[in-house]
């Protein structure tokens, strides 16, 4: 039986489509038996869906470094 910690890792990987088929199967079995992880897994999936819905954007680290340099130079 997969432990809750391992199940959480698989669950997180699954949010980024990086869980293997076998991993997903293990997760399914674990969720079948563990209620806490089921709740966590549902919330995690919800977080993924709202992050997609919000169409998040961010500046890359590189752009931020350039911005910092510009501000340092100008100030």
């Amino acid at each position: 039986m997969t432990s809750c910690e391992k199940a959480a890792v698989i669950c997180n990987k699954a949010q980024y489509n990086e869980a293997s088929f076998l991993d997903k199967l293990k997760l399914r079995f674990h969720l079948f038996a563990c209620k806490n992880c089921t709740v966590h897994s549902e919330k995690n999936a919800k977080l993924t869906s709202i992050c997609e819905k919000a169409k998040l954007r961010s500046l890359s680290e590189q752009e931020k470094v350039l911005m910092k340099e510009f501000l340092k130079k100008e100030s």
């Binding site: 890792v9 997180n12 995690n44 709202i50 992050c51 954007r57 961010s58 680290e61 931020k64 501000l71």
Partner: protein, 215 residues
């Protein structure tokens, strides 16, 4: 008896009133908000960027506006009274920058006119003016507003995470980088990365539960 009681109550009220005045006085002496320009880019760049993108719909222009905002903030830092929080103050500057941007692109008189062109792809016959009116049953506009607010709420929560966790979360979720690339860039191993992702996601769910709707 009632008259005395009344006076007594009055006394009490006076007491409360004078108390509140001294409290108000103390309030004024309380330390106000301060500016820390060296942390601006790390703390607010993404928040401001999302705000700007929602208004100008162009990432490059939004980036420039954010940079101009920080620059204007630096220049007028001495005028900051400390009444508003740092971010609120920066957002206020950004709002002016967005307005200035639209003024600039609409500077020629002709561009300021509202032009209604009938959609060339469809038939030019029919009640074309009526068709230009917004559809009252459409939820599309509300969705866009709600999604923008959601985006800002998420960024607000992400900015409260520890620096490394927020960095990993942004790289993975927003920029969609692969696990391998992130590990190389930050010099960490994959299991380390997944632990950070797990902590960030759990904290985010908790934060969004407070600031947004129940997850």
């Amino acid at each position: 008896m009632p008259a005395i009681k009344y006076e007594y109550q009055n006394e009490n009220m006076k007491l409360i009133k004078s108390n509140s005045i001294t409290f108000g006085g103390d309030n004024k002496q309380m330390p106000t908000n301060q500016l820390f320009p060296e942390t601006w880019v790390d703390s607010y760049a993404d928040y401001l960027f999302n705000y700007a993108v929602g208004r100008v719909s162009d990432a490059e222009i939004a980036k420039d506006l954010v940079q101009e905002t920080f620059f204007a903030g630096l220049k007028s830092a001495k005028n900051y009274k400390g009444d508003a929080a740092e971010r609120t103050w920066l957002i206020a500057i950004l709002k002016r920058k967005v307005i200035d941007h639209y003024r600039k692109i609409n500077s020629k008189k002709g561009k300021a006119e509202v032009r209604m062109n009938y959609n060339a792809s469809s038939d030019s016959e029919g009640d074309w003016l009526e068709e230009q009116v917004a559809d009252p049953f459409s939820n599309f506009e509300n969705d866009a507003i709600e999604n923008e607010e959601l985006g800002l709420a998420i960024h607000d929560c992400v900015s409260k995470l520890p620096k490394k966790q927020s960095m990993v979360f942004k790289m993975k979720t927003i920029q969609g980088m692969s696990t391998e690339d992130i590990c190389n860039e930050l010099d960490i191993n994959p299991s380390n990365l997944w632990v950070m992702i797990h902590r960030a996601r759990t904290a985010l769910v908790g934060c969004l539960n407070q600031n947004w709707f129940e997850l």
